[in-house]
Subunit: 350 residues, 2 copies
DNA sequence: ACTTGCGATGTGACCGGTAACATGGCATCA
DNA sequence: TGATGCCATGTTACCGGTCACATCGCAAGT
């Protein structure tokens, strides 16, 4: 907190090195533009003054902030944390700084968050999900920068989307459990009414219900919990409610591994054997799901790959605008998903 | 990505409202300074043009960026994610934007990260841990803004620190396990040699070893794993190594619940009963530790409270500088820790 | 009636960089 | 030898706000 009289500016460096400010700027931005000898003198001055360039000023002047905005529901979900890290790693190489905002699954927060991030003039915006309020949509559209939606596959993305169909994930889960011979099949997931909404979880749940119906099975055993965000604890509660409702349930789909593992642990506490008495399947392929006993059958999507692809799209789009035309990459990237069968599910034995 | 001719600026708003730019600025910054009628006219113009103020320009001019820099090792550890969210929530109320950088537990990354964040002229810096390279320290000291170190309690903090003694945590763990009557006691934690280092984990491990010695017990059963960051999987590996080394070990301290839960699950796989055959104790009070079966004995510290206190210190320090003198809050805040005894440990039965 | 003071608004400089263009020196080439 | 062109560097304006100060009108005080 040592307060120096004032932080050295580029002018101070230029004076010390006996050159113009512009030369200092060049040395820092692209050293090859400056003669070796001058460059060394400037760098010596930079080191001597411990000069740290001011990107605030630089951004204003160059009209390139070097920011990329990232809108996430929360960090409590490891998948989002993974994606965020992967994006960060890829963008930092190109010297972009991530600006993260959180919505807590609330529409009102989402709008505030976007508006606030836009004041920082990000060069691109990454947002979780493909469903936004009218106001949020308007802000994104008018932002003037590329928008990437992720973890979902909207029919008509704003600009780009990287994700998969949550509805199809649910459908695949239903078919998988039905395919194992189960008939009394339930699910646990988010309720649709509250202020906080997990639209992607809701989609998986709807896809699951649709899948059950396609298999000629009833879709009445679905527990919808309004406590968003989801957690292990919430999974334990939901499975409890389901077991109270239908003690003879044979298989359960949890729309997140967080809930799935929570459910599994609750079963252990209740002495319900998994998978002998109950098959449990989750979504997200969390590390804890791979490690737990029995390991959790899940639907896997690659969180880090989503992040990498998002970053790639952005770097492409931003490179495209400085001159050389880059072919516009696919607006919609479906990264797909895979059912990973593990110990927590098994074929029904009559 | 709609490219309008150019984004409206304050000048456009001022013209439309028939006032000067300064009046627009006032309406946005402190509406009470402007007459009702004028204010309404300006706000109408703002809405009509969908004007979004440019904080890049504002920051440069006012010399207040509205940024707070946060340096974290990773988001993979829920504790840090919790703290980050808590900080964010508190700072957003005061309209500060968090700038997050990740070190991945590497000293070299830490320096780069700090340097890069400093170019954005943050008004405060929050950094994880109390041990930094000489270069990082110099940068922080010269930054000219308040620095808050967290999750540790350095003897001589740069400016402020919010945390607890990791060494004492380890010592308390040793005493707790020894107090249960165990004699063959081991631990799993990070190795000290590699490029990536978890200094706080190392401190807990050292404290643990010291605690064992104080109790007159040998400290030879400590597994140090260089795979940082820690994870469930790594915990499973480490406990395996420990069990191979000393099959008769009675109790284990894992320096993180991540490892502790991983160890617990590995024991389940191997048919080792916890706590009957082996007591396991972790650190961090992760949700999964509370939920798993048996639930994990741990040492609890409040991640969100750390975040809240960090934010409080910063808001205080930053308020202090605009005129009214605020008493400098305690430079060092020890938020302490608590041993939480749960199902994974029990008294030794001879 | 004249001064005083305050509320509401405007003026101009400035924050610290960078884009765009200008300049000067020197080697190359017809 | 003069034109040409490139390399290295300098000059100037400007990015979009806000600060400090100036101005103006009007009500209150003496």
């Amino acid at each position: 907190m040592t307060d120096r009289p004032h932080k050295p500016t580029m002018r101070d460096v230029s004076r010390l090195a006996g050159v113009s400010r512009m030369t200092v700027s060049r040395v820092l931005a692209d050293p090859s533009l400056v003669a070796q000898e001058t460059r060394d003198r400037v760098l010596k001055a930079v080191a001597q003054l411990r000069y740290v360039p001011d990107r605030v000023a630089g951004s204003l002047s160059s009209r390139r902030s070097g920011f990329v905005a990232l809108v996430l529901p929360t960090l409590m979900n490891t998948n989002f944390a993974d994606t965020a890290q992967a994006i960060n790693e890829a963008l930092r190489e190109a010297d972009y700084q991530l600006l993260i905002g959180f919505t807590l699954y609330r529409s009102s927060e989402e709008v505030d968050c976007i508006r606030s991030l836009l004041t920082r003039r990000p060069e691109a915006i990454i947002i979780t999900g493909g469903v936004h309020s009218r106001e949020a949509n308007a802000l994104l559209l008018e932002s003037g920068v590329p928008v990437v939606e992720m973890w979902d596959l909207p029919e008509r993305p704003i600009d780009y989307a990287v994700g998969f169909s949550n509805f199809e994930v649910g459908r695949a889960a239903a078919r998988h459990l039905a395919g194992l011979g189960h008939r009394r099949i339930g699910a646990i997931g988010p309720a649709a009414g509250g202020e906080a909404r997990d639209f992607r979880g809701e989609d998986r749940l709807e896809g699951f219900a649709a899948g059950l119906r396609e298999c000629g099975l009833p879709d009445g055993l679905i527990i919808r919990n309004p406590d968003i965000p989801l957690s292990f604890t919430e999974g334990a509660q939901s499975i409890s409610r389901l077991l109270d409702l239908a003690p003879d349930v044979e298989a359960v789909f949890a729309i997140s591994d967080l809930q799935g593992v929570g459910a599994l642990l609750e079963c252990q506490r209740r002495g319900i054997r998994v998978p002998e008495d109950l098959s449990i399947m989750g979504f997200g392929d969390f590390e804890i799901g791979r490690q737990c006993v029995p390991s959790l059958t899940t639907i896997q999507t690659d969180s880090r790959a989503i992040g990498r692809q998002v970053a790639e799209i952005i770097l492409n789009a931003l490179a495209g605008q400085d001159g050389r035309e880059t072919p516009r990459p696919d607006a919609l990237r479906d990264i797909g998903f895979t059912v990973v069968s593990r110990g927590s599910t098994r074929t029904r034995t009559p």
